[in-house]
């Protein structure tokens, strides 16, 4: 509908007024966006978690659902100084289960498999560059040894490898932000104004 598109377009323009400087129009649009986002997430959580996994089972007499409800509610006891220690029980369970699942998985995906791939790829030119890059970058992060002589030169090379990574990441970030602008411009020019 035309008025819905117009409201969206005006809110888009309101957000972009930050480019001129901080102003009440931007603040209004920013607060509206935050409020809507939090409100939407709350409704989704209540509808897809609280009702089907807590309220509905309890209504059907499945009392086992009381355990997560009690543990979840205990989290909120943090706000009361005397009852706050009770909130540590669900936190301990959450952290214990989380760490138990995460540590082996992270070791496997982020350390062991990456190390194996770095070593096994060293038969190609790309592989040798990657292996060299990893080694000199790691040397840069050894702070218990003075960065002088050959070690220092390797550490400098490591810094250059990191700079290449940061440069590529920055370029991708620019690309990403431009894509967001393109999306908004397309909406303004096509859906709202109809000039393209």
């Amino acid at each position: 509908m035309w008025w819905e598109t117009t409201i969206t377009a005006l809110l888009t323009l309101a957000i972009y007024t930050i480019l001129v400087g901080d102003n009440p129009i931007f603040k209004f649009a920013e607060h509206l966006l935050l409020g809507l986002s939090i409100g939407y997430s709350l409704v989704v959580t209540v509808k897809s978690i609280l009702i089907p996994q807590a309220i509905a089972p309890l209504g059907d007499g499945q009392w086992a659902a009381l355990i997560p409800v009690i543990l979840g509610s205990a989290m909120f006891l943090r706000v009361h100084p005397r009852l706050a220690p009770w909130s540590q029980i669900p936190l301990a369970l959450l952290i214990g289960a989380g760490a138990g699942a995460a540590i082996p998985a992270m070791m496997q995906a982020r350390v062991l498999k990456q190390t194996a791939a770095t070593i096994s790829g060293s038969g190609t030119v790309d592989g040798v560059i990657i292996l060299l890059g990893v080694l000199v970058t790691l040397m840069y992060f050894v702070f218990t040894r003075r960065h002088t002589g050959a070690w220092g030169r390797a550490a400098v090379a490591g810094r250059y490898f990191m700079m290449i990574f940061f440069g590529a990441t920055f370029a991708y970030t620019v690309m990403s932000r431009m894509a967001l602008l393109i999306g908004r411009l397309e909406f303004l020019l096509s859906d709202w104004l109809g000039v393209i």
Binding site: L19, V20, S37, Y40, S41, V44, T45, S48, I49, P52, G98, A101, A102, A105, M106, Q108, A109, R110, K113, Q114, A116, A117, T118, G121, I130, F165, A168, T169, Y172, T173, V174, M175, S176, R177, M178, A179, L180, L181, I182, G183, R184, L185, E186, F187, L189, V195, I196
Partner: protein
């Protein structure tokens, strides 16, 4: 402050001009996009692809087109699609995107595609689906029990899913790699916002990710392979104009800095 505003204005003018003029620039398809396309193209029509919308609404202009292109490809080939969201904001976006694409390709909800909805605690959700999807999502997004939907009854866990595509603007594909790929041997593709690509390339190089699609550019390449240009292809000319302008400004800034340093030295 004034220079910054001039740069913003220049960028806006350049991009708007190119969007109105609409020049068709050649789009080179990267090996990574080609590999993902070939992977989906090689699946038979009875295969199941899980598309997870792991992003917020703010990144929709960039990664929405990739999700749309992948969904189009699957529906066009008759591949079954199971949608879900591990970010609450991606929930309605994912359902809306898949339902529009399914209607356009004449695919039926329940038989050809289903949408599971949103679950928080992504670690538990990804791990749980490795055992039994019905335990994690007893009902679909619309509240129907999974067992009553033909496709819902067919997919029990990752063994019944041929490929997972995480459409993400953050680090969510890491968890798909750690829990679905490494633990259950599931093939995972990351359709990412461009800013995340450098973080995920090592996972692709080590064979833990089956493929990466890169932001709006990835969408444009995928649309090119599908031979149905859409938002990705439309955005490429404006993106190129912005990049050329930024490169020229960086060059100009460096020349000016060099000249002023020389003047000071003289």
């Amino acid at each position: 402050m004034r220079a910054r505003r001039i740069i913003f204005a220049l960028l806006a003018v350049a991009m708007i001009a190119v969007m109105i003029w609409r020049p068709r620039l050649p789009i080179t398809v990267t090996d990574s996009t080609r590999a993902v396309f070939a992977m989906i193209d090689a699946l038979d029509s009875n295969a199941v692809v899980m598309i997870s919308f792991d992003h917020e609404a703010s990144s929709l202009p960039e990664i929405g087109p990739i999700g749309a292109a992948i969904a189009d490809h699957c529906f066009r080939r008759g591949i079954k699609v199971v949608g879900l969201a591990l970010f609450s904001e991606g929930n309605a976006i994912g359902y809306d995107l898949l339902s529009r694409r399914a209607i356009r390709q004449g695919r039926e909800y329940g038989d050809d595609w289903i949408y599971l909805g949103f679950r928080p605690q992504y670690t538990a959700a990804i791990l749980g689906m490795g055992e039994d999807i019905g335990e994690v999502f007893a009902t679909d997004y619309l509240g129907a029990p999974l067992s009553r939907l033909p496709l819902g009854a067919r997919v029990r866990n990752y063994e019944d899913i041929d490929l997972v595509v995480s459409v993400a603007d953050g680090s969510m594909p890491t968890y798909w790699i750690e829990y679905a790929a490494n633990r259950y041997g599931e093939k995972v593709v990351a359709a990412l916002s461009a800013v995340m690509v450098t973080s995920f390339t090592p996972y692709q190089e080590s064979g833990q990710l089956a493929g990466i699609l890169t932001g709006l550019k990835g969408a444009a390449e995928y649309e090119q392979l599908l031979q149905s240009p859409a938002a990705g292809v439309r955005g490429m000319a404006a993106q190129s104009a912005a990049h050329v302008l930024i490169a020229l400004l960086v060059l100009w800034g460096n020349i000016e800095a060099w000249r002023s340093r020389k003047r000071r030295a003289a």
